[in-house]
């Protein structure tokens, strides 16, 4: 994919998701939430995974660490970590080691992400003892404690000593998300999956947490998969953006490119729906309709029912991902030179400057 963009394909992939399919089963019905997703996350990048509710972005994030709810199941595909380990087939114990040590995760609601019966200190130390293996002796505990304090310092909580003795309910939302981040960093993971870490916070705190993540990413050479529905957050922090719709990756590429010249009608519609100052006084743009039901098979393009440019071909055949403009992969018949519908319905404003393939 990188070579299509004219860059050499030397970037090392931390995580390579290949054709990942996830189903949720509930009495009698099967929801194919992810029909087969391909996604590569390159070392040192912040990848934003965006989409509206029900697009499968959180499911994808949870599936990476096999944390799906009991009725969710990975039915096909591979999740390759560091080019060697396939997370879908390793044993429970191996998986336990990967969680936290290689890939860590922080969650949406910092208010419920910390165990209310534990003091912060005990919780921070517990993460380290869980991975220490065997019996933990007293000098280790002392070391763990110092390490926990250092981590709290790193995430911008200066009064670590007092904090270690506090219960989660005595902390504000922003502080709790910082503590969560510190816990996630305590085993020095390569990849941090952040599942809407700022959605439950107010804007000021959100900006602080984003700043913190950016700073940690730089100082620790961390790779971040950032799941969010907020495009402005993506613009703020991400290098790459992956747009998901109804379980499929619709478009992906560098944030600056995709946001400047979105190639997929869905991406354009999402960007149009963002409230900006230039829209002042006008009603907000919305995307009519809703995400299609994922029970049973979907024919054609998943976005066709809501797309204002949809043609007959869109309702009949599923588009394949193609490189178009500055986006690296777009699932749209109107961007596919082989479909015969290239630019058929898209207005010129949204049409890309055609870049000749190298």
């Amino acid at each position: 994919m990188a070579s299509l963009n004219g860059r050499p394909a030397v970037d090392e992939a931390v995580l390579d998701i290949q054709d990942l399919a996830v189903e949720y089963r509930s009495r009698g019905s099967v929801m194919r939430v992810l029909p087969g997703v391909d996604l590569t996350i390159t070392r040192g990048q912040v990848v934003g995974l965006v989409g509206e509710s029900g697009s499968g972005k959180s499911t994808l994030a949870l599936a990476v660490l096999r944390l799906l709810p009991a009725n969710g199941k990975i039915t096909a595909g591979r999740i390759v970590l560091d080019g060697t380990t396939d997370l879908t087939s390793i044993s429970r114990e191996q998986l336990r080691r990967v969680r936290g040590e290689k890939v860590a995760m922080i969650f949406q609601d910092p208010l419920t992400s910390l165990n209310p019966t534990f003091k912060i200190g005990r919780q921070m130390i517990d993460v380290q003892t869980a991975h220490a293996g065997g019996r933990v002796r007293w000098p280790d505990r002392k070391q763990f404690r110092q390490r926990a304090m250092a981590l709290l310092h790193e995430v911008g909580l200066p009064d670590a000593d007092q904090l270690m003795g506090s219960y989660p309910h005595q902390l504000s939302g922003g502080m709790r998300q910082r503590v969560m981040t510190a816990m996630a960093l305590s085993l020095e993971p390569e990849l941090l999956i952040a599942d809407e870490p700022t959605s439950a916070l107010d804007v000021t705190t959100e900006a602080q947490i984003l700043g913190l993540l950016r700073q940690i990413k730089a100082s620790r050479d961390l790779t971040i998969l950032f799941v969010t529905h907020d495009l402005s957050v993506v613009a703020e922090i991400c290098d790459r953006v992956v747009v998901m719709y109804a379980g499929q990756v619709m478009e992906q590429g560098e944030v600056a490119d995709v946001f400047r010249e979105p190639q997929h009608p869905y991406t354009s519609a999402l960007l149009d729906a963002v409230a900006t100052r230039s829209h002042r006084g006008q009603p907000l743009n919305t995307i009519p309709g809703r995400v299609p039901s994922l029970i049973g098979q979907i024919k054609g393009c998943r976005f066709a029912s809501r797309c204002s440019y949809a043609q007959d071909v869109c309702r009949a055949e599923e588009p394949r991902p193609v490189a178009s403009g500055s986006s690296e992969a777009v699932r749209c018949h109107m961007r596919d030179p082989q479909s015969g519908y290239e630019h058929a319905g898209l207005p010129s404003a949204a049409a890309p400057k055609v870049v000749p393939p190298p």
């Binding site: 969680r99 936290g100 860590a104 995760m105 969650f107 419920t112 165990n115 534990f118 993460v127 007092q162």
Partner: protein
């Protein structure tokens, strides 16, 4: 507190050096007050603690405190009412009821408390396994507990005692089994709700094993309600023991369990209601004491309620 603080003219707290991590005064006081202090913070807690401590003291020092021996027969003073010689009267053999009740406390503490504690421990393990692991394990746990719970506790205990024979140890085991399903079901239900919490998911994401999550992360979150159940069940275990003794399957005469005293007194309730009256009263006081103590204990154990006084809130 705040008023007092600001009334002092120069307390050194300016607007700029506000300590943002400072805790509200009630929390700070709760911490310095400590567990015992919080236990005694409410009238109910004080009453419960005093009663439970009293029962424990009676159980340990009973023989020293009782005015007579539990088996000292005085045929000249049978079925007496309360008097200076026999504060709570005597039974049909002239034994001092007060002394028998005091000796009985030890038997109740040896039977009821260990039985309920066993039920709690085993029920908690079953509930954790069933609730957290789900699937087949859960089905087995539910099947077993439902089967046991379909019998009333006393009937089940009665049937088991007939099978295994009656001794103090068997009595404990049988009462534990009779109370176990309740704990297994309650803890299972609590586990099912606690495991939905995001912090459990977060712990899994950080690589905590299933055992660690069950023991270290779920258990502390569910013991508080279980303690209430423990405190409520201790008196009912006493009642079950009393019932079994009443039916002649519990503690053997002349050993004075409260149930045996009730049962003896029942035969002469029209001539001298004292035995029944005072034994029931003791049972009632013990019940109230354990309930109040359990409730206070729950408040102390649950950090979410720590520092929150129900009387001020």
């Amino acid at each position: 507190m705040a008023l007092l603080g600001s009334a002092r003219p120069d307390d050194g707290i300016g607007l700029l050096d506000l300590d943002i991590t400072a805790q509200p005064p009630s929390t700070r006081r709760a911490r310095t007050r400590g567990a015992v202090g919080s236990l005694l913070a409410t009238p109910g807690g004080t009453i419960g603690t005093v009663i439970v401590l009293g029962l424990i003291v009676l159980a340990i020092f009973g023989p020293e405190l009782a005015p007579y021996s539990f088996s000292a027969i005085d045929v000249n003073a049978t079925l007496q009412g309360p008097s200076l010689h026999h504060l709570l009267g005597t039974d049909q053999l002239g034994r001092d009821i007060l002394s028998r009740l005091i000796y009985g406390t030890r038997i109740e503490m040896e039977v009821a408390v260990p039985a309920v504690a066993c039920a709690l421990a085993c029920g908690l393990i079953l509930g954790l396994l069933g609730g957290y692991l789900g699937g087949l394990v859960d089905n087995v746990v539910v099947l077993v507990t439902d089967t046991f719970q379909s019998f009333p506790a006393i009937i089940l205990a009665l049937a088991l005692l007939v099978v295994v024979g009656s001794s103090l140890r068997n009595l404990v085991i049988v009462i534990a089994i009779a109370f176990l399903p309740n704990y297994a079901r309650t803890s299972r239900a609590l586990v099912l709700s606690v495991k939905q919490n995001q912090y459990i998911l977060a712990e899994r994401a950080l690589g905590a094993s299933r055992l660690r999550i069950m023991v270290r992360h779920i258990t502390p979150n569910i013991v508080a309600p279980l303690f209430i159940l423990l405190a409520m069940d201790t008196p009912s275990a006493i009642t079950v023991e009393a019932g079994l003794s009443f039916l002649g399957l519990g503690v053997r005469p002349p050993n004075p369990s409260w149930g045996a005293i009730l049962s003896d007194g029942f035969n002469s309730i029209y001539q001298a209601p004292w035995a029944v009256l005072f034994a029931s009263l003791t049972l009632a006081i013990a019940t109230i004491g354990f309930l109040c103590f359990g409730e206070a204990l729950r408040d102390v154990l649950d950090p979410r309620l720590r520092g929150v006084s129900r009387w001020r809130a």
